[in-house]
């Protein structure tokens, strides 16, 4: 899995007790924001407006993501989010278009976060006559699936895949409702230089598609944010000893270190840096914002930062109401991408409202939905307001930066990145 797994493992990389060495750079200037009172979710009408008639067309919406295996939590959570949106619309009588009431049915398949299985099961969804798809969850699988959906003219909206390549293949059918890694890199660079005031930044990555991609984006954005890159180092994702790279970085006296990679390395990396006497904060991406980081870095985790896509749950208006409904139905709290998948499902169903569902013709339904999804403009969802650009990315993405305090990631700042 390329970019997405991180997002999946959304947790924050924490840092140790870090005091910036430079006078301008003060990582302690930001602290956790208290939870805002959840305003009521845009209440879905619960009144049953119409009785369901068996003759009315039912449109199938596909869902693809890991539903069994190591990261199944992410897939199941997103699937439940999509299902909740569909149930709300169906119980309100479905969607009306020119006298026809369309209702919806979710068709979930497992891609095991794997490109091969993803492509196979994407084909299965095509054969199942789905009219649009929500998924995949991880980038590698999502990119493999996107070709199948593109070949068949089916709109695909990923709630979580962040690798830039997904929407850069020239496919008219690929969309996502989360900011990509290029936008995240820009966010991390702005946060480091402007919010923390850390001008001299060292950049490290793990050479993975995700880690290096994110670090490259930060590398490009630091100078435009007014900062300076004092070191650009790489480590091996299988290595355990990072002291050589850290010693080089220490000699360059940075104010902050950006790390692009996953928490499995970020945790030990942070500890080794502290052992070498490097006291500046680490800033990391969504691959590190998880409990693995805080566990591996231990006491050294405090004071470090990690960003993740979307607003923090406690900063998302309407989240409390959403979570209550979610929990009532699935007996568990929202884990990660359910809100994004909920929005993706609603964007698809709202496309049917605009352009219709083909009146029984699946090909016509796919074309109508694809056209209307691509034209999505200022659609107010649970997470944010969505407008797709010509590539299928959202024009405005929200990221949240988390800081480790007492061993846990706490949201400290939401950053909106414009087009």
């Amino acid at each position: 899995m390329i970019a997405a797994p991180l997002a999946i493992l959304a947790a924050a990389c924490g840092g140790g007790t870090s005091g910036g060495t430079s006078s301008a750079c003060n990582p302690n200037a930001v602290s956790a924001v208290p939870a805002s009172g959840g305003s009521a979710l845009a209440a879905a009408a619960t009144a049953r407006l119409m009785a369901y008639k068996p003759s009315d067309p039912v449109l199938k919406i596909g869902f693809i993501g890991m539903l069994a295996g190591k990261y199944q939590n992410y897939g199941i959570d997103a699937k439940n989010g999509a299902q909740l949106a569909i149930d709300q619309i169906n119980s309100a009588g479905g969607v009306q278009y020119q006298g026809t009431a369309y209702t919806f049915q979710l068709d979930p398949v497992d891609d095991n976060a794997d490109a091969t299985q993803g492509a196979q099961n994407a084909q299965k969804l095509v054969d199942d006559q789905v009219v649009a798809v929500i998924g995949g969850i991880f980038s590698t699988a999502t990119i493999a699936e996107s070709k199948i959906f593109n070949d068949n003219g089916i709109a695909q909206i990923s709630p979580s895949a962040t690798n830039p390549k997904y929407t850069a293949q020239g496919f008219k059918t690929a969309f996502r409702v989360i900011g990509n890694d290029t936008a995240q890199g820009k966010t991390d660079a702005d946060f480091t230089v402007k919010t923390l005031g850390c001008k001299n930044v060292a950049i490290l990555d793990d050479k993975s598609t995700y880690g290096q991609g994110l670090a490259d984006s930060v590398n490009t954005s630091i100078p435009s944010a007014g900062g300076k890159i004092v070191a650009r180092e790489h480590l091996d994702a299988t290595a355990s000893d990072f002291t050589a790279q850290l010693t080089t970085i220490k000699g360059k006296h940075p104010d902050a270190i950006f790390y692009g990679g996953y928490s499995a390395q970020a945790g030990p990396l942070t500890s080794q840096a502290r052992k070498l006497g490097i006291k500046v904060p680490f800033v990391m991406g969504d691959g590190c914002e998880d409990s693995d980081y805080t566990k591996l870095a231990g006491a050294d985790a405090d004071g470090n930062f990690a960003s993740n896509g979307g607003p923090a749950q406690n900063l998302m208006s309407g989240f409390t109401d959403f979570n209550t409904k979610f929990k009532a139905k699935y007996s568990q709290d929202v884990f990660q991408y359910a809100p994004q998948a909920f929005d993706a499902a609603n964007i698809i169903m709202s496309a049917v409202k605009t352009a219709g569902g083909g009146g029984g013709d699946v090909k016509a339904a796919r074309a109508a939905i694809l056209g209307a999804v691509a034209a999505t403009k200022d659609y107010k969802g649970l997470v944010q307001s969505y407008t797709f650009d010509s590539k299928g990315d959202i024009t405005t993405s929200i990221f949240t930066v988390y800081k480790v305090e007492s061993g846990n990631f706490k949201a400290v700042k939401a950053i909106t990145t414009g087009p």
């Binding site: 050479k207 650009r232 180092e233 790489h234 480590l235 091996d236 299988t238 290595a239 355990s240 000893d241 002291t243 050589a244 790279q245 010693t247 080089t248 220490k250 000699g251 499995a264 945790g267 030990p268 500890s271 080794q272 502290r274 052992k275 006497g277 693995d292 591996l296 870095a297 231990g298 006491a299 050294d300």
Partner: protein
């Protein structure tokens, strides 16, 4: 051209080089300890024990288990930390030794007269088994220890020697000298040398070959247990750590001249240095063409060059021919 000169002069400071040398030697001392296990077994049996890296990996989990039992944190006092670390080391040595002994009995002994490839494949099988066992029944995540021995000795400018590094160096050198004495001066060592030289002749002369081979595995594995403790004081572990650490230690054994104790030690130090200096300076000396991403490429290119010029390693004799 000017840029290259700048890179060279800005990157290569005496302080930086000294610190990287210290880093390299300490990393190398752990490689050396693991390398001894490969080298001894090869010297005596001419078998490359690919499961040795995984014995080391099991050792790291034993260390985690023992220190976890006592709930050590970065703030624990030395009066608690030192006895617990000693206990962890003894436990890791003992468990690794039992494991090494068992692996030899179960996986290699029945194949002792089989073609050379059979025990090699058996070794790879044991390696997979140990990794899968840890991943399934213990953990498939990464683990670290808290910073137990904080503090350092300032040497020169920014350069310092951390207590952990001192411990790593001292204990690995002590272990290696001890092993050397054991091979040279004890009757067990004499038996090892005899079996290495000519297995059948040694048996005819009354050397208990099974016992000698068992002890070779026990000693090599116990040293991997010591390496496991030193590793955990600095680095992290997971179920596949034995593969990478083992591969590097094996490379160190080959550089030094496999089958040879001082050679394994020398090879370990050289590989650690090549890795540290490579990661730190490959960009400076290559005019920025190569980045620190090439650290392993650098280390293994060094291995290939060494072998081109000295195909049997730095020290050519095997356990048997020495002393």
């Amino acid at each position: 051209m000017q840029r290259c000169l700048d890179l060279l002069t800005s990157g290569l400071t005496p302080e930086g080089i000294l610190q990287q040398l210290i880093n390299g030697v300490t990393l190398g001392s752990v490689y050396a300890l693991i390398a001894l296990g490969y080298s001894m077994v090869y010297g005596v049996l001419e078998l490359i024990n690919f499961a040795h890296g995984d014995v080391f990996m099991i050792g790291t989990f034993v260390v985690l288990g023992v220190t976890g039992q006592f709930g050590l944190t970065g703030r624990s006092s030395l009066a608690l930390v030192i006895p617990v670390l000693l206990l962890a080391m003894i436990a890791a040595m003992a468990l690794c030794a039992v494991l090494g002994f068992t692996i030899e009995k179960v996986a290699y002994r029945p194949l002792r007269r089989a073609p050379r490839l059979a025990p090699l494949i058996s070794a790879i099988g044991v390696s997979f088994f140990l990794q899968a066992w840890i991943a399934t029944y213990v953990s498939s995540r990464d683990h670290t220890l808290p910073n137990l021995l904080a503090g350092d000795i300032p040497l020169y400018g920014d350069v310092s020697l951390r207590y952990v590094q001192v411990l790593m160096l001292v204990s690995s050198v002590v272990m290696m000298v001890g092993l050397q004495q054991l091979v040279r001066r004890t009757s067990l060592g004499r038996g090892m040398r005899a079996v290495a030289q000519d297995r059948e002749a040694a048996e005819l002369m009354g050397v208990n070959m099974d016992r000698v081979i068992s002890f070779t595995f026990i000693i090599g594995s116990a040293l991997a247990g010591v390496a496991a403790l030193l590793w955990m004081l600095n680095y992290s572990t997971n179920q596949s750590i034995g593969f990478i650490a083992g591969l590097k230690a094996f490379a160190a054994a080959v550089i030094g001249g496999i089958g040879n104790i001082p050679g394994a030690m020398l090879g370990g130090f050289l590989l650690g240095l090549a890795e540290s200096l490579g990661a730190a300076y490959v960009s400076n000396v290559s005019c920025g063409i190569f980045s620190s991403a090439y650290e392993d490429v650098f280390a293994f290119a060094f291995l290939i060059l060494m072998l081109v010029f000295r195909p049997s390693g730095i020290i050519r004799e095997r356990v048997s021919q020495r002393a």
